[in-house]
Amino acid sequence: MIKNISNLGDAAVYCDFGSEVNETINAYVINYFNHLTNLIKDKKIQGINNLTPSYNKLIISFDLTITTFSKLKEVVQNINIEKNILKNNHKIEIPVCCDDEYGLDFARLSKKLNLSKKEILKLYFDKEYFCYMTGFIAGMPFLGNINKKIRCERLETPRVKVPEGSVGITEQFSNIYTFESPGGWNIIGNTPKKIFQKLNLQDPALIKPGNKVYFYEITKNEYLRFND
């Protein structure tokens, strides 16, 4: 449940669900997010511009000409999540090619983790992931938790350009770069699947908070033919 509600500036509500990162806390965040999304859809609440769920926080930004922090704080305080379960258990499969031309950081990872590329990939693919949040850049999913044996910090010097489709890992998380972007995650492969489609106006982001995600390995040939 919410531990603390404070203001972030004069036009946002900062809801703190605790300091840890785990699926129970994140499920609360997503349940509050879903509840507020429904209130907006049903026009039962005025002035909210955006909701940003993350691992353990929910930020509600609003139009200060329409509402205020104190009004929205009261709304949030009155939300009661009886069962902290997520209905949206949609499962998504993501193909990844890990050839060295796509998996850019195996040399670094092998050295840091003391594991071979094969061992790293076995531990990476042998797991179901949970989407904690989507963002930073459009559609980028933050997935967890990766096996403890393959957890590694970010690159000391981030790349100026990480190629679109790159699959990265850092600490307990994995992500997918939906656009070419600067970034410091360890890159283990690349997916040919479109994770963010701006032309799909109804549903542009393939992976949303609360979704389950599986990765599977494909060959370079399969990678190149994937979108044929």
Binding site: D10, N50, L51, I59, T65, T134, G139, K198
Partner: protein, 317 residues
Amino acid sequence: MTNTYFEILRPGINTTIQDAGRNHLYHLGITVSGAIDQRNYKLVNNLVNNKLNDATVEFAYQGPLLKLNNGNINFAITGDVFFNVIRDNSKIEEGKCYQNYNLKDGEQIDIISTKKSAYGYLAVSGGFVLEETWKSFSINTKAQIGPNNGKKYSINEKIFIKEANLKNDKNKKINYKNSFNNVVRIIKGTNFDYFSNHAKNIFLNEEYSVSRLVDRMGMRLDGPNLENIVNTNIKSEGLIRGVIQVPADGKPIILLSDHGTIGGYPKIATVISADLDKVAQFTPGTKIKFKEVSLAEAEKLFKDYTDETNKYLNEHN
């Protein structure tokens, strides 16, 4: 549809379409975008009798050189901008911001540069022909969303105009006072106590200057380092316009309209809503100072800001 359009003879540094912004998509990683100076954006629409949330052309520093083809229009420019109107007899007329002008077929608008500020706005009566994406016309160049395939304008591209033949109804002017001041009012951030007492003192009392690393995403500041005594990273969480983050190098970054939706740097403060337009207009080298206010004061200052905007908008009604 008309065939009236601006031909872009020189694109300028960062010329895009912007409006009130794109909401309800932060949770998918799509940022708000929109005019970086919302007051000047509303005023330019008002000057040509458009709706206040119509799409406008936003430019930064050096603006575009635009040639009108196949029509006669009425336009206005707001901001602190140096521009000329090049008439069809090649006569150059020096332009004034905050008033509307007629432009005839073949004539040009040469937006030479902004003066003491970064951004300016151009609107035409009746608006532009543009495709809407998620209820907004704003161009988000990072995610390539919006008109012109989500890209800033390049040479020889066209911006189509809805109304081909507009008679000048009446001259409209706003007596706009550009009251420059360098004090940025803030509310303490959610990670204010990550910083040493010395750092807090520096932040609230010393001068910072706007660095050259500034764009629509954010503004990096130069000045004394802010010592973090807890952790230079936080668990990534949501961001909003106006948040001031401090990464490990100790130099603050103010987030602007195209900011990333999630970030992992501690938040020392947030700029109050009333000062967001002002901050976005600072140019590199500008010296600024932060001043802390309470939430109640910030709400009052925002009401004053809104009243002042409305006063300008109502000058003619």
